[in-house]
């Protein structure tokens, strides 16, 4: 095929997606503040809580996240890199069959998603997962 000059000058409208990638301030301190407000500064224990998240988000606007902590009365979920880190709080009663929840959240950029569980004995457990938000393309 011969390319005409007109075709050559066609401006491609599509290229790499512009995600919100640069220039955001660190929101980790906001997460720390929110966690401290929940725990009143109590010690956070690793383990006893699972967080399921994709390693790389297929779509940063709707990232499926699931949390599970047997024996929890409350599980709070934070997106540490979002302008407003608090995402959701799941509360469980004595009759709750399973102490787990799932939702989809929007992530502004690559960040840690943090889950804190308040247990029946009053202790707090934590887990986190890094979710990468990428421009994409150019694969394999």
């Amino acid at each position: 095929m011969e390319l005409t000059r007109r075709q050559t000058l066609t401006i491609g409208s599509g290229t790499f997606a512009f995600a919100a990638l640069a220039g955001l301030p660190a929101f980790a301190s906001l997460t720390d503040d929110a966690v401290a407000a929940m725990t009143n500064g109590a010690e956070l224990i690793d383990g006893g809580i699972d967080i399921t998240a994709p390693e790389i988000a297929e779509n940063g606007n709707t990232v499926p996240i699931a949390v599970s902590a047997p024996g929890a009365v409350e599980i709070a979920l934070f997106a540490s890199g979002n302008p407003t880190p608090a995402v959701a709080t799941f509360k469980f009663g004595p009759l709750s069959g399973s102490r787990s929840g799932s939702t989809r959240i929007r992530l502004a950029k690559t960040q840690d998603v943090v889950a804190i569980a308040k247990m029946e004995d009053g202790t707090f457990r934590q887990a986190s997962a890094t979710v990468k938000v990428t421009i994409g393309g150019c694969g394999g």
Binding site: M1, E2, L3, Q7, T8, L9, T10, I11, G12, S13, G14, T15, F16, A17, F18, L21, A22, T52, P54, E55, I56, A57, E58, N59, P64, T110, T130, K132, T134, I135, G136, G137, C138, G139, G140
Partner: protein, 567 residues
């Protein structure tokens, strides 16, 4: 328990068949060596189960040249580990003589000279002969296709994968998993998969809306072979909607989902599986990491990263087999399965030397039928390579094919800078060889081949390079997508692969002026293979064809514009 002795019963088909050779006359020595089909296929049938693995064929029906990478950098825990070993280090590691058939098949040095002596590789009619020969020794051997089969050529594009489906069906695979197939669009994929006479597997292929497994792609299939109950679990490419245009298959979601992989392994074991095989398109480092997390998989047949390894890599009690790409290799894995477990294996990576292995006449005829409607378009000569010019792609950074494509983008689309995707498919062209239209399509064909032209700021260009670099050099393999670095034209940079994202890329330079890239300045950028819907522009193969036709003979300047440190 598998003994170390059993594990060491592996071999590479052409290895150690021939004596030493001297530097400088490799080609002559090579030409004197007579390979035979019997030698290539020689295998002392072992145990009670045979697996045959092909993967990442990328629609290469006919024999081609394919140069292995010279640069394949491993990071984190995989620094210096296979498959991140190339050239003389690779030959030393596996005891391969310089100039030998194995050296030609598995390493890049002296490629064009050895290629003259040993000829083309691959061709599905030759692959069929190998499969038939294995089935003659073990009639119930399982043939497993790791995917990236229905993508990568002129005829595959024109027939929307039908040519590959027709020819692969003649080889009678038992199961398959997927990656580029989805870029045909979900409607076409669903149509083909609905009619496949074998299993289409993917434990990680999910319905995007409900985040639940699909009916069309079951997680696994059971086979009874050699008195053994075998479960084959599929693992599709995890990052399909990120690395490729998700808008073409919006109904599907993927991901590694190793917790579900463990559930599936436990489920098949509970249902009596004595041997668990994972047919994977994860990429090698991801498979290695998954093998360390998921227990109970005996064999991972690994695809996606196009690595060809003469021996399996062993993680715990899992063996990982990597079988190359573009139809260049077939792996045969014989297993001794007794008392509900794998007791040992024998393995051979068989290079498909097309002049040595006789084509299966029936499959040759079938291939010719697929190509017949397009013969004149395929064979049209567009240009030729200069006497010193090899065209190849494979490697972490620009290959010469990429340099040529970037030159075409800059000149035909009047851009300052060109970006070209870091894919690992695409055969090589030898010096002094005609470049046909088919050759151009072999390195560019895809369902989203529009060559865009747009403006990018220096800052955004930096973000793009950092983002792609992290897909390749993130120290955690689960965050890698398995491609190579985005190829650049008109732009130089320094990359420190040991740094975190955001700090790897420095010293970005606009080559035509020698000036540093200004973050706030806007540059004209041409590229192709955008994952965004609605991308406009001429098709990349037309851009490249126009450029090659104008050049006539292709002789590229050496590309020293990327400075790699920390490797």
């Amino acid at each position: 328990m598998i003994s170390r002795r059993d594990f060491l019963q592996t071999s590479m088909a052409a290895a150690a068949l021939y004596g030493t050779s001297g530097f400088g006359n490799w080609a002559r020595l090579a030409a004197q060596q007579a390979l035979t089909q019997d030698k290539l296929l020689e295998f002392d049938t072992y145990g009670n189960v045979s697996l045959i693995h092909v993967t990442d064929i990328h629609a290469q029906l006919k024999p081609i040249y394919f140069r292995e990478p010279s640069v394949n950098i491993g990071v984190g825990g995989n620094k210096g580990a296979v498959p991140h070993v190339t050239g003389s280090d690779f030959r030393k590691l596996y005891g391969i003589d310089d100039g030998s058939p194995s050296a030609y098949a598995l390493s890049h040095n002296d490629f064009s000279s050895l290629a003259q002596a040993y000829g083309r590789v691959g061709g599905l009619d030759r692959v069929s002969t190998v499969v038939n020969s294995i089935r003659a020794a073990r009639p119930d051997a399982l043939l497993l296709d790791g995917g990236d089969t229905w993508h990568g050529s002129y005829t595959c594009y024109q027939t929307e994968g039908q040519d590959m489906v027709n020819v692969m069906n003649a080889l009678k695979p038992d199961a398959m998993t997927f990656h580029w197939e989805f870029t045909l669009g979900s409607e076409r994929v669903n149509e083909i998969v609905g009619g496949l006479p074998f299993a289409a597997l993917g434990q990680n292929i999910f319905d995007a809306e409900w985040d639940e497994p699909t009916e069309l792609f079951p997680p696994y299939k059971f086979f009874e072979r050699g008195g053994v109950k075998i479960a084959v679990i599929g693992q599709a490419f995890p990052y399909m909607p990120i690395a490729n245009p998700g808008w073409m298959f919006p109904e599907y979601s993927f991901g590694i989902r190793d917790e579900r992989m463990q559930e599936m392994v436990d489920e098949v074991r509970a249902n009596g599986a004595e041997l668990v095989v994972c047919l994977s398109h994860n990429g090698f480092d991801v498979d290695k990491q998954m093998a360390g997390k998921v227990t109970g998989i005996d064999v991972i047949l690994s695809g996606h990263t196009h690595d060809a390894l003469p021996e399996p890599v062993i993680v715990g009690e899992t063996i990982i087999v990597a079988s190359g790409s573009n139809g260049k290799f077939v792996s045969r894995v014989d297993l001794d399965v007794r008392d509900g477990r794998m007791m040992g294996f024998r393995h051979k990576l068989i290079p498909i030397f097309s002049d040595v292995i006789a084509p299966d006449a029936e499959v040759s005829k079938l291939i010719d039928e697929q190509r017949a409607p397009y013969t004149s378009a395929l064979s049209e000569v567009i240009g030729r390579t200069g006497d010193e010019q090899t065209l190849y792609r494979r490697g972490n950074f620009n290959g010469t094919w990429d340099d040529l494509i970037c030159d075409a983008l800059i000149s035909e689309r009047e851009a300052d800078i060109a970006l070209s995707p870091g894919v690992r498919w695409g055969p090589s062209i030898l010096p002094g060889q005609d470049i046909t239209r088919e050759d151009i399509w072999n390195v560019t064909s895809m369902s989203y081949g529009e060559a865009y032209r747009t403006e990018m700021t220096g800052e955004f260009l930096h973000v793009v390079l950092e983002d792609v670099a992290d897909n390749l050099f993130n120290p955690d393999p689960y965050y890698q997508q398995g491609g190579d670095m985005v190829r650049v034209g008109g732009l130089g940079y320094r990359i420190d692969v040991t740094k975190p994202q955001g700090d790897r890329i420095t010293e970005m330079t606009l080559l035509k002026t020698g000036e540093k890239i200004d973050p706030s300045k806007t540059y004209q950028v041409a590229g192709w293979a955008s994952v965004n819907e609605g991308t406009e522009g001429p098709k990349i193969w037309d851009v490249v064809e126009a450029h090659i036709a104008k050049q006539g003979t292709i002789s590229l300047d050496p590309n020293n514009s990327v400075n790699v440190v920390g490797a």
